[in-house]
């Protein structure tokens, strides 16, 4: 496993005071909080940050970590020495199960054995089992037609030694037709078992789409960049367009320019009303790699009076 340099992650010096660590944590937490941040790897960074703070904010854990620290660098292969934490007593609160599940193997190997089940868990008064939350990635095609997907969830649980371990749990989920990114699927009774006679909790899955090679998604609408030839754009043409429901024909009006936006009504994600598919034209130039093509370009150059930079106020 990799050694984690918690000081580097927290962007503080090794001799930083507890106040400096707290300040840095707050600043970075605001920057990388997954609900706020648009940074691509925000969620991973935020988890890493939480893990680093969990150790550095706690004087005992920090001291134990420091003992290891000086001789290791972030990313290095690491194996904890057998009695590395002898003489340290971890009395601080353990993180809750949900938080701890995201921590690295590195963290678990050092502090993991100190988790106790039930510390942060609280049975709800009516005996209903705990609800679980997870994210799933699906393909855009799945929401268009509706589909059954088997989804693997990594479920944290606590083993006989009190360590947090993750197990794979596979679920078959019927993806409802028309679901959009950011929406949630509720699976009744698929959370934790109930207490006593209580009902089992529910499982909530937040849906996100895998990036699609052709379409950009905005709510229920799809955006597709459609390349057309200069003559299709200039003279008008009927061209074939791929949509999620199959190929359709689209009439390109005479005199179209790059960036022209056209709407295929109802060809977006299903729903009431269904979304639309917007087609944005781009002009693809045929390469001048043959004599015929070169001659045709030269002929246009000679016979068409055209200044593409007329709007910039420069002569041809």
């Amino acid at each position: 496993m990799e050694f984690k340099d918690y000081y580097k992650i927290m962007d503080v010096a090794r001799d930083a005071t507890q106040d400096e660590i707290k300040r840095s944590y707050r600043k970075l937490a605001r920057k990388y909080h997954p609900d706020v941040s648009k940074e691509a790897n925000a969620e991973a960074r935020f988890k890493e940050l939480g893990e680093a703070y969990e150790v550095l904010k706690d004087a005992e854990k920090r001291a134990a970590y420091d003992q290891l620290g000086a001789s290791h660098k972030g990313g290095q292969e690491f194996r904890p020495p057998p009695d590395w934490n002898t003489g340290f007593e971890f009395s601080g609160g353990s993180p809750s199960g949900e938080d701890a599940a995201g921590y690295s193997d590195f963290f678990s190997s050092l502090f993991g054995q100190h988790f106790q089940e039930g510390g942060a868990r609280r049975a709800s008064p009516h005996g209903k089992g705990e609800d679980h939350h997870a994210k799933v990635l699906i393909d855009l095609e799945d929401t268009f037609q509706g589909a059954t997907r088997s989804i693997t969830l990594r479920v944290p649980s606590v083993d006989a030694q009190g360590r947090v371990v993750t197990k794979d749990r596979i679920l078959n989920v019927a993806i409802p037709k028309g679901i959009r990114a950011g929406q949630h699927i509720r699976l009744s009774g698929q959370g934790s078992p109930g207490i006593g006679e209580g009902k089992a909790g529910d499982l909530y899955l937040e849906v996100a789409f895998r990036p699609h090679p052709l379409y950009r998604v905005d709510g229920r609408d799809l955006y597709l960049e459609l390349p057309v030839s200069p003559w299709e754009a200039a003279l008008g043409a009927t061209v074939k367009v791929p949509t999620l429901g199959g190929i359709v024909e689209l009439k390109i009006p005479e005199g179209s320019v790059a960036g022209r936006k056209m709407r295929l009504k109802g060809r977006g994600i299903a729903g009431n009303p269904p979304g639309d598919c917007y087609v944005i034209l781009s002009i693809a130039l045929p390469p001048a790699d043959t004599k015929v093509a070169k001659d045709l370009y030269r002929k246009m150059e000679q016979e068409i009076d055209f200044n593409p930079r007329a709007k910039l106020g420069v002569p041809k």
Binding site: G50, A174, Q190
Partner: protein, 107 residues
Amino acid sequence: MTTENGLPQYSICILEEQTQLTLADLCGACSVQDQQIIELVEAGVLEPQGREPARWIFVGASLHRARKALRLQRDLDIGLAGAALALELMDEIESLRTRLRAVGGEY
């Protein structure tokens, strides 16, 4: 109901579209006590229908919003009013982004 790989298939629904939640549902799904949800309603973060807490009905989207508000408070160590303000600003950014995309801009 089972499928070809032998696993049961579950009955499901889209939370945001077909679901209404009670105060107890919301507390269960957010793992908090009633009081914290009531405070979110008092701060205007959630807007249930119905006069008193026992009769409140929340739209499905409230769950996501409530969890977000609670996460912001916990993770960033900010108060309820601060989290409510952050949510409002995020909503505004989202609607501006949508308008920007509608006129063809990238964000």
